[in-house]
Subunit: 202 residues, 4 copies
Amino acid sequence: MTDNLIEKLTAMFIRFPGIGPRQARRFVYHLLRDNPENVRRLAETISQLRVHTGQCRQCYRYFTGNNQTICNLCSDQSRDKHSLMIVEKDADLETIRKTDVYAGLFFVLGGLIPVLEKKPGQRIRLTELKAGLKKLKPQEVIIALAVSDSGDATAEYLRSELAELARDLNFKISLLGRGLSTGTELEYSDYRTLDDALKNRH
Amino acid sequence: MTDNLIEKLTAMFIRFPGIGPRQARRFVYHLLRDNPENVRRLAETISQLRVHTGQCRQCYRYFTGNNQTICNLCSDQSRDKHSLMIVEKDADLETIRKTDVYAGLFFVLGGLIPVLEKKPGQRIRLTELKAGLKKLKPQEVIIALAVSDSGDATAEYLRSELAELARDLNFKISLLGRGLSTGTELEYSDYRTLDDALKNRH
Amino acid sequence: MTDNLIEKLTAMFIRFPGIGPRQARRFVYHLLRDNPENVRRLAETISQLRVHTGQCRQCYRYFTGNNQTICNLCSDQSRDKHSLMIVEKDADLETIRKTDVYAGLFFVLGGLIPVLEKKPGQRIRLTELKAGLKKLKPQEVIIALAVSDSGDATAEYLRSELAELARDLNFKISLLGRGLSTGTELEYSDYRTLDDALKNRH
Amino acid sequence: MTDNLIEKLTAMFIRFPGIGPRQARRFVYHLLRDNPENVRRLAETISQLRVHTGQCRQCYRYFTGNNQTICNLCSDQSRDKHSLMIVEKDADLETIRKTDVYAGLFFVLGGLIPVLEKKPGQRIRLTELKAGLKKLKPQEVIIALAVSDSGDATAEYLRSELAELARDLNFKISLLGRGLSTGTELEYSDYRTLDDALKNRH
C-alpha cells in the first residue's frame, strides 16, 4: 500500500525556509487542484535542477549551464574585469546585479564569520577567493557585506587575510560606504549610522 | 541549450499560495544546497501525488489510496454514520478531525457562495451533497462554515436547498453555535458576536 | 530655576498605558505646537477629572456627576432591572452598551482572578457584588468575562460564591454563549472553540 | 451641570499624535485609577509647559528656561561654534545629541519641503537660518535631513538658497554621507542605497 502522500509531501515542504505546517499543507492542496501539466513540469524541473545547475568555478554562484564551468556573468566580455565585488550569498549578488549600479565581477563568499569564530577560514571560501584573485588580477576588491557584527567581523578578517596578496598583486581593498540609507529617519538612527554619516559627509 | 532552471523554478514557486519572488528564489537556493537525495525524493513525491491521490467519492476530500474510491474516514466503521458535517474545504476538515470533538462523517463543499452570486449552485457541490444525503440517510446535518458574509450566505442557501430533502429523509439541519471564542476580549467584540453570545447564554 | 518641563512631562506621559519614551516626547512637542487654549483646557479638564468623576456606588463604573452617587445608567428607569451583567472593567461595559444588545443593568467586577490565586476575593468586588444583588434582587445574573484562563477561573469562582445567594434570592446565573465569533475561520480554530461551537449548535 | 468629563478628556487625548479612541479612553481610566497627586502634578505641568517653555531664538528648538531667550545648547561654551547642523525637527536634534557624535551647534528647520511645493520658503525657517548664519559665521553647515523625496528636495533648495551666503561668509555646505546603515542587508537594498554605498566606498 502507498504511504499517505499528502502527509509525506507536507513534511517535505515544512523543510522549505520560512514554511510552517499549515502553509506546507496548503502547498499540497494547491498542487492537487492545479493543472496536472503544471505539476508534472514542477516535478520535472526539480528533478533536473541539480543535473543542469552547478556552482560557477570562478564566482561560485549557482547557474544553469550544459557542462559549462564558468557562468554567463563571469564570461560576459562586456563586464569590467578590473573590479571584483565580494558578496555573502547568491541573493545579494542578484539584488546588486538587478540594480545595475555595478559593472564588474563578483565572488560569492558563501557565508559570514560569526564573531569569536575559532576557525574563520572554514566558514567562507577563502582559499578559492585567493586563487581567483591570483588568476583575475583585479585592480580593486570591493567588500560588500551586511552591516552587522558578523558582516564586520568578516570584512575585518578579509582585509587582514588579503593584505599580503593586495601588496603583491597591487590591488586596492575597499568597503561599501556607510551612512544614511533610503528611508532612514534621523530620529530613529543609531550611534553608528549617525557617526558613519557624519564622517562620510560630503 | 538548457533554460535557466533557477529562474524557471522560481517562477513555478511564485505560483504557490502566499509566496513572493524573493521567497520563491530562496526555495530554489534551498534545493540547490539541500541533500541531493532529498531533492530527488521531493520531485518523485510531487510526480506521484496526482497518480495516487484522488477525491473521495463520498466526502470529496483528497486522500491517498490505491484504486480506492472511498477514503479511510468515510470507510471507518467506528465513526458515527448518523451525523454529517458540511465544511468548506479540506483544511477545515483536517483541523476539526485533529481536535477530535466530532466523531461523525464529513462532506467537503468545495467553496463558499459570495453574497449576490447569481448561480450559487455552481460554486459548491450541491448535487453531490444531495446525492450523498439520499445514500447516507443521516439523522443530522451540521453546517460548519466560517462566520463571514459568504459563510452566512452559503449556510442560508444550504438550509433552503436542503429543506425538502430534510423533510423527506427526516434529518435535522443545525449550525455550529456562535458566541465568544477562545481569546475573545469583550472590549474588542463586535455587535454580532455579543448579540450571539447573549442569545446563546446558558 | 525651573526644571526641564519637557523632560518632566515626557516622564509623566511614559507612565500612560502603552506609551514609550519616543511617543511620550512627541506628545510634549504636540502640546508645544498646539493652540494654547487647547492646552489650557486639557490641563483644566485633567485637574477637574477626579473632582467631578467618581465610581457609581451601584455598578462601580466611573462616571461624571455633581454629588451624585449613582450613575445615569443605574438610575435610568427604562433599563431592565431584572437582569444584571457582570463585566471585568469599564471598557467592556462601554463596548457592550454601545452595541445595544443588552438592556439590563451592569456590575463592574474590577478585575479577574488569576489561576491559583490564593485570595481570590481580594482581587474582585465580591462583597460589593453580593450587597448589590441583595438590594437589586434580579432574576438573572449574566457573567460576561473574557474567554481566557483567568476569565474562566473568575467565572467558576463567582458561580460557587453566588450559589447560595442565587438559591435564597431565586436568581439564575448564566454565562455568555461560546462558539464561533465574527471572523472565525474553522481552519484556525482551537479545540475549545470547536467543542463549544459543536455543543451549542442549533 | 457638569459635562461628561470622561468623554471630554477622551476626545482631547484622541488629538494626541498616534492615539485612537480606545487608547484615549484607556488614558482616562489610567488617570482615574492613578494616585491623585500624580494626576494633580500632570495637570499642573501641562498648564505650566507653555509658560516656561519657548523656542530658542538661535536654534529654534523648544527648551525650558526662565526668561532666557537662548537655550543651554546654544549658550554652552564647550560646543564647537564653527559647525552648524541643520535638522528638520526637535526629535532629530535630540537623537543626534544623545549619540554624542557631533559637538557643534544646531538649527531646527521646522519642516521639510514637499516636492513641487510652490512657496518652499514658507515651509521652513529660511529667513531665520540666513540671519543666524550671518551672526554665527560658521565654517561648515551640515545638512542632516531624512533620506526621502522631501528630504532631498529640501536639501537641494537649501544648497541653492545658501550658495551666495556661503561664498560671502566663506562656509562649506555638506550633506550627511549615504550608504549602508546599521542592519542593512544587501539582498533587500534598493538602487539608490547601493549606488550611494558604491560611490562612497572607501
